[in-house]
């Protein structure tokens, strides 16, 4: 055989997949993270009310896609390091630092992990910031980010409809409409749409049920 042949076995036997549609969008007051709530094992919906928006510190959160186990493990480790950071530095970590920690873990363990993470947060230094860390462990700073199997269906829509410096309500509607379409077309995404708004005022959680978003 020529070249290097590696078998990229996505999910280990019995492993649970965050099918997923996730996104994060920067707006004039900070960032908003959004996600669906479906976890699948093959075509079985293991959890229809999953919380894929995970806090790693104060106003630094992440959206998780890929293996549920891998992303939970990585997020727990990052959370630990950020807690230690604040204790040792006397100031909360920036979103950039959190993203860098995610990247280090995802890159150095790339053979063992299936994790697609969007790290987004609000800090006083950079205000809103979004970092995409896809499988492989590269890092990409973006104005908005979409990820997960459902995101493939909304690349065109998001590209055409994203605007910088939208208001909070405009951003909520943009995420709602985008994820509504992702959920419509992707069998691995569904359930409720969860959002987390991160601003100088702190953290605000939102939930939208199928009846609310199906016609968004």
């Amino acid at each position: 055989m020529n070249g290097i042949n590696v078998d990229i076995n996505h999910l280990k036997k019995g492993e649970v997949n965050l099918g997923t549609s996730i996104m994060a969008v920067k707006f004039d007051g900070g960032v908003i993270l959004g996600a669906d709530s479906r976890t699948t094992t093959g075509a079985y919906i293991a959890n229809r009310v999953t919380d894929k928006l995970t806090q790693v510190h104060g106003t630094v959160w992440c959206c998780r896609s890929g293996s549920a186990a891998d992303t939970q493990a990585v997020a727990d480790i990052v959370k630990y390091h950020l807690e230690l950071y604040e204790a040792q530095h006397g100031a909360p970590p920036t979103t950039k630092i959190a993203a860098s920690l995610f990247q280090e873990l995802c890159y150095n363990n790339k053979d063992a992990l299936t994790a697609g993470i969007i790290c987004a947060g609000y800090d006083d230094k950079e205000k809103g910031a979004i970092y995409s860390i896809p499988i492989g462990g590269s890092i990409h700073k973006q104005e908005y980010a979409i990820a997960g199997s459902g995101s493939t269906f909304i690349y065109g829509y998001c590209n055409k409809n994203f605007k910088s410096n939208m208001t909070r309500d405009e951003t909520v509607e943009f995420i709602k409409t985008s994820l509504s379409q992702a959920i419509k077309w992707d069998g691995s995404s569904g359930g409720v749409i969860r959002m987390v708004v991160l601003t100088a005022s702190g953290v605000e959680r939102l939930v939208f049920y199928p009846e609310d978003y199906v016609n968004a």
Partner: protein, 265 residues
């Protein structure tokens, strides 16, 4: 002179080159001809249950392309004549082929200008033979089907037939995910034929609608829009209700769930 049989009536090799023996072997392959080896556009569960006056069937309107919810307008409950419904899951191109096969059956039934005689027991037997013979050629129609209807003696027929040629009968039948999730729910009400004879139409419809809701909750290859057919002995007819939606779904409890382990905002 070359008198060998392979060279009778053939110009000499200088004209067209040596004889290409692969031509003769083209239709004579040692391997069976395989067409449908994997389903591409697919339909998920079909569920059916007997009740005191007939049968209720349901199937959603989705045609999936892998995980892509490609087509939302597929009708998978097919009426045959005025006495039978065939519900089909699995490959959609093969579903359409079965549609053509059933159409041919109905056309043939109309020959000789006698009154229509095609009944569910005939449809089921014919379909199951088609399925078995195709599987024996290693060229299956990749479907699981439920045939339901009123027989020539106005008795209830509810039977299953699939890509392997497997057939069986039961008061509650379901294909795909329904076999795992819906059958236990259906059997809570309808364990035996005797239970079925006590179930009212209202209860049967409610039972099936509840099963469709559970399947929408738990089957990642389903949508909430479906068709429901009621076959009634007393009315001697079939009603198909289209465009039904899953109702009374519970989602509000999701707002209280945060994180995945340790307490979280």
């Amino acid at each position: 002179m070359n008198h060998g049989p392979y060279d009778w009536g053939r110009p000499s090799d200088d004209t067209y080159g040596a004889y290409n023996h692969q031509i003769a072997a083209a239709n004579n392959s040692q391997f069976p001809k395989m067409n449908t080896q994997q389903p591409i556009v697919t339909g998920t569960s079909v569920i059916a249950v007997k009740y005191q006056d007939g049968i209720v069937l349901a199937a959603d309107n989705l045609g999936s392309y892998g995980s892509l919810a490609r087509f939302s307008d597929i009708e998978r409950l097919l009426p045959v004549g005025d006495s039978t419904i065939v519900g089909i899951s699995g490959d959609i191109s093969d579903l359409q082929q079965i549609e053509r096969i059933l159409d041919d059956l109905q056309v043939q039934d109309s020959y000789d200008m006698e009154k229509p005689n095609l009944k569910p027991e005939h449809v089921h037997e014919y379909l199951s033979r088609v399925f078995y013979n195709r599987r024996s050629k290693m060229d299956p129609l990749w479907n699981s089907t439920i045939v339901a209807g009123l027989s020539s003696t106005n008795e209830l027929v509810l039977k299953y037939a699939d890509l392997l040629g497997v057939t069986y009968s039961s008061p509650a039948i379901a294909t795909g995910f329904g076999a795992h999730l819906a059958i236990p729910l259906l059997r809570r009400k309808v364990e035996t034929e005797e239970d079925a004879s006590k179930l009212t139409e209202e209860e049967a419809v409610e039972l099936v609608r509840n099963c469709m809701k559970v399947l929408f909750y738990r089957d990642a290859r389903s949508i909430d829009k479906y068709s429901l057919a009621v076959i009634s002995q007393s009315r001697k007819k079939i009603d198909i209700h289209k465009g039904l939606r899953c109702e009374d779904m519970k989602w509000e409890f999701a707002k209280h769930i945060r994180g995945y382990g340790a307490p979280q905002l």
